[in-house]
């Protein structure tokens, strides 16, 4: 199957099989592709959320580490955009064991967001648009200079 141009994050876990179950329970991601080898280890896995996918893998090379293996550090974070209730999403994630780092709050740019750590310490930000805010209003609220490409 050919893939259209786009981006996919591959997220590293010590226990990718546990991560697959957790990400489904906490965020509602759906498993779309899984290859297990002779020892039932995860050779390749992809989950979907809306039109997006993430790959879930183990620490398969010296360059790949879970935050759980490097003192909780991460070098990138992933944002989940939902069409729905961020607070309810947060409750579901917390019930699945997510550590809520920042509880739901409405941001100056018109999104309600929360941030959490998953079972191995990856940081996820969950966001839903709740208000349409003009660039001028964003600048007024935040004091930032905002540049938006004219599409």
């Amino acid at each position: 199957m050919s893939n259209p141009a786009g981006l996919i994050s591959a997220v590293t876990y010590r226990d990718p099989k546990a991560a697959l179950a957790w990400l489904e329970a906490a965020f509602g991601f759906e498993l779309v592709f899984l290859i297990e080898g002779e020892d039932a280890s995860v050779a390749h896995a992809e989950m979907s959320h809306g039109a997006s996918r993430v790959m879930i893998g183990g620490e398969w090379s010296p360059a790949h580490a879970s935050p759980a293996s490097i003192g909780g550090k991460t070098t990138q974070t992933i944002h989940i955009y939902i069409e729905g209730d961020v607070d309810a999403h947060c409750q579901t994630a917390a019930a699945a064991g997510a550590e809520i780092v920042e509880p739901p709050a409405t941001q100056f740019y018109g999104a309600r967001t929360y941030r959490c750590r998953d079972l191995e310490g990856h940081l996820w930000t969950v966001s839903a648009d709740v208000e349409t805010v003009s660039v001028e209003e964003m600048e007024r609220r935040s004091g930032l200079k905002i540049t938006v490409a004219k599409g």
Partner: protein
């Protein structure tokens, strides 16, 4: 003994429509893959008939891919999957699950048993196990995309206009 391929796709049609498209229209949505041909004379025309999945070959012969062991319309389908080059002790199995999700269906294919086919076997084309399974899994993704196109055309009432 636990190598397996799992591929899942949401299709915007009911489980019954997707199940019927899977079994009744397999000749329409199937996309042969030369790397994983059932016989040296493949591709032929796929069909579920007499409790079996078969490939009707261009020379008129019928190759039995496998026997259907579970046929639960709109829910579950399980059948055997053998290539002509398999020895009697080599067997793989395909389980297809049809799960209602909202107004659509999440169809999941689980293909297992590849550990019964040893690494040097011709069916594996010399690929390491994970690479072989990944290539085969990509084919299943392709197949489910074909199934989705077929099921959607049935769902939308296009009927046989989807035939090509």
């Amino acid at each position: 003994m636990s190598s397996r391929i799992v591929v899942s796709l949401r299709i915007a049609a009911s489980p019954e429509v997707v199940f019927d498209a899977f079994v009744d229209d397999i000749a329409v949505w199937w996309r042969p893959n030369g790397l994983f041909a059932f016989t040296p004379r493949s591709p032929g025309v796929m069909a579920f008939e007499d409790g079996r999945l078969v490939e009707r070959l261009p020379n008129g012969k019928v190759f039995e891919v496998g026997v259907v062991s579970v046929w639960e319309r709109g829910a579950r389908l399980v059948f055997g999957w053998r290539q002509a080059a398999f020895t009697p002790d080599m067997n793989t199995e395909v389980e297809v699950r049809f799960e209602a999700v909202g107004e659509g269906t999440r169809v999941t294919v689980e293909h297992r048993g590849w550990d019964s086919v040893p690494a040097p076997h011709v069916a594996r084309h010399g690929f390491p196990n994970a690479a072989f399974l990944a290539r085969h899994g990509e084919w299943w993704r392709n197949l489910l995309a074909g199934l989705a196109a077929r099921a959607n055309s049935v769902h939308l009432g296009a009927g046989d206009e989807g035939l090509s």
